[in-house]
């Protein structure tokens, strides 16, 4: 077994996802199967291979950079327009700390 149901819940917790009791069985089975498949990666020799973090090509030094010049940001009202609970110009959220 690659991981237990509790480990699935723990990892989900790291991603701020809760997993219901109805979901956990199938989710666990699916994840096991996929992780077993991922183990194929250990079969191929990658000694002396640099990790490829992204697609790269020849370019001028600094060509992806621009001048650090501020531009007008979204105004407050627009920024809050899709907020589930805006208030007094802020995004309102439930309390952060239990007293």
């Amino acid at each position: 077994m690659k991981l237990t149901e509790q480990q699935v819940r723990d990892v989900a917790g790291l991603a701020n996802l809760s997993v219901s009791d109805e979901e956990i069985g199938k989710l666990h089975a699916d994840l096991e199967g996929i992780l077993e498949y991922f183990d194929k990666l250990s079969e191929i020799d990658t000694s002396n291979v640099e990790p490829m973090t992204q697609v790269l090509y020849e370019a001028e030094e600094g060509s992806t950079l621009r001048d650090d010049r501020p531009a007008p940001p979204l105004d407050n009202r627009t920024a809050l327009a899709n907020a589930p609970q805006p208030g007094a110009g802020y995004f309102k959220v439930p309390k952060v700390i239990e007293r």
Binding site: G13, F38, L41, I44, Q54, V55, P94
Partner: protein, 477 residues
């Protein structure tokens, strides 16, 4: 005027010869699309005001004697992971069911500056994660070629709209095949440009090192024209390339005689049935056009799916962290603490596939597993890219299948995620290497299901890819 079969050239000549105005065309396109959409649910919703305003601007340009633009008056469908200002953008997710973006994606700005008329937003797998459009929170899209079958995914809605004739061209996104595979399943042309060729600003991020915006169309020429409009450096996307954008259409008719094409033996060994037969016929046709076809080897292919999914899921887990119920998503009711609100919002909001990928992505990035999975996958990615680089020393382009099978039935693969992932084998490799690749129709199976052939080329060599596809397409007509 057959609204369902118009090309960009036909729209242009129709406008310039005053056979119809842009507003008349837009109104008819909207009417037709709204009438036909219930058959397939390609579109999630239409944007008639925006479309008519764009059409009006085109008519005004024409009235002033100005050029209407390379996409002047052309009805365009947009996958719902690409933001459109003031027009709802859901990404196929309940979390964004009511999200109205305050900005346009760069690709959208460019389409409209070129005169394009955006009819509406098309259905897709949630956050672009899936290969069938069945993971949309708003119901699946049906394949116009066979209504009991999937259109492919994740850009299923865009492919279906183009196939059905409810758009002339469409924008989709491709991370591991999400433009090419639905194009193949629906019988249209789908292009994944070189990574960085088209700005990702305004494309909802799934896997940032693999995401692309790409055109879908009924002909190679129209796909090339749309690519020309949206491609090019964008200072708002640091991964967008400086490389100049050639006039793709000008090169389409160049003779393909003498071009060397490679067929990867690792891709062909398990290919069966109608798909194998149609690809073999396509290769014969390419030879008859004067291309030299030889077998090549891409040895790391066997590890590509594991490599792709480790990387894609890891990046996805990071990119989806922003959907947290605070700023622009829906929010779960009744949570007493912030932590509880996050967990419940995300648990209730994400579908099963997104949850799988977020959890696995988090796992492969976590302490103790990072080296074995994520770092290892990045090294395998380098080997896959190296395989292509080596192949392109011998050949100008590579020919390959798009999918091991044509469109499957709705519901057939939803319960087996691993089977769904394995079907991506031919498309993920191009994405990992960042090379341009496209699907062009090469026939139908015995029961009428479309099949596409894939053409892959070197970085920024879309011209060679288009030339081959165009010559192939022309020879079939």
């Amino acid at each position: 005027m057959n609204i369902a079969a118009l090309s960009i050239d036909e729209v242009r000549s129709g406008l310039l010869w005053r056979r119809f105005s842009a507003e008349e065309l837009a109104a008819e396109a909207l009417r037709f699309a709204e009438a036909e959409n219930p058959k397939t649910s390609a579109y999630l919703y239409f944007s008639p005001e925006r479309a008519m305003a764009a059409a009006r601007r085109v008519d005004e340009r024409i009235a002033r004697g100005e050029d209407p633009g390379p996409l002047g008056g052309v009805p365009v469908a947009v996958k719902d992971v690409i933001v459109t200002k003031d027009v709802r953008t859901t990404c196929g997710s309940k979390l964004l069911a009511n999200y109205i973006p305050p900005y346009d994606a760069t690709a959208i700005e460019r389409v409209e500056a070129a005169g394009g008329v955006i009819l509406g937003k098309t259905n897709c797998d949630e956050f672009a994660m899936g290969s069938s459009t069945e993971n949309s929170a708003f119901g699946p899209t049906r394949n116009p070629a066979a209504l009991d079958r999937v259109p492919g995914g994740s850009s299923g809605g865009s492919a279906a709209a183009v196939a059905q004739g409810t758009a002339v061209v469409a924008l989709g996104s491709d991370t591991g095949g999400s433009v090419r595979q639905p194009a193949s399943f629906c019988g249209v042309v789908g292009v994944t440009p070189t990574y960085g060729r088209v700005s990702r600003y305004g494309l909802t991020a799934y896997a940032s090192s693999l995401d692309h915006i790409g055109p879908l169309a009924r002909t190679v020429k129209d796909a090339a024209s749309l690519l020309h409009v949206i491609a090019g450096r964008d200072p708002r996307d640091a991964t967008s390339a400086e490389a100049p954008v050639p006039d793709y259409s000008a090169h389409l008719d160049r003779d393909v005689r003498g071009l060397k094409l490679g067929l990867p033996r690792e891709y062909l060994k398990d290919l069966q049935g109608d798909t194998a037969e149609l690809l073999a016929k396509a290769v014969e046709r390419l030879k008859s056009l004067g291309c030299e076809v030889r077998e090549i080897s891409l040895p790391a292919t066997d590890y590509a799916i594991a490599c792709y999914y480790v990387i894609a899921m890891a990046e996805a887990s990071s990119n989806l962290a922003r959907y947290d119920g605070v700023r622009y998503t829906s929010r779960a009711a009744g949570a007493e603490t912030l932590a509880d609100m996050y967990r419940r919002t995300r648990a209730e909001g994400f579908g099963a596939e997104c949850k799988r990928r977020i959890i696995l992505g988090t796992y492969v990035l976590s302490a103790g597993y990072y080296d074995a999975y994520y770092l290892k996958a990045q090294k395998v990615r380098a080997l896959i890219a190296r395989d292509f680089a080596r192949a392109f020393q011998e050949v100008n382009a590579i020919v390959a299948p798009v999918s091991p099978f044509p469109a499957f039935r709705l519901g057939e693969k939803v319960d087996d995620p691993m089977a769904m992932y394995l079907s991506d084998i031919y498309t993920i490799t191009g994405s990992l290497a960042g090379i341009p690749c496209m699907s062009v129709p090469c026939g139908s199976t015995g029961c009428g299901l479309p099949v596409g052939m894939q053409i892959l080329a070197r970085h920024f060599d879309e011209i060679t890819m288009f030339r081959i596809a165009h010559a192939f397409e022309a020879s079939r007509n």
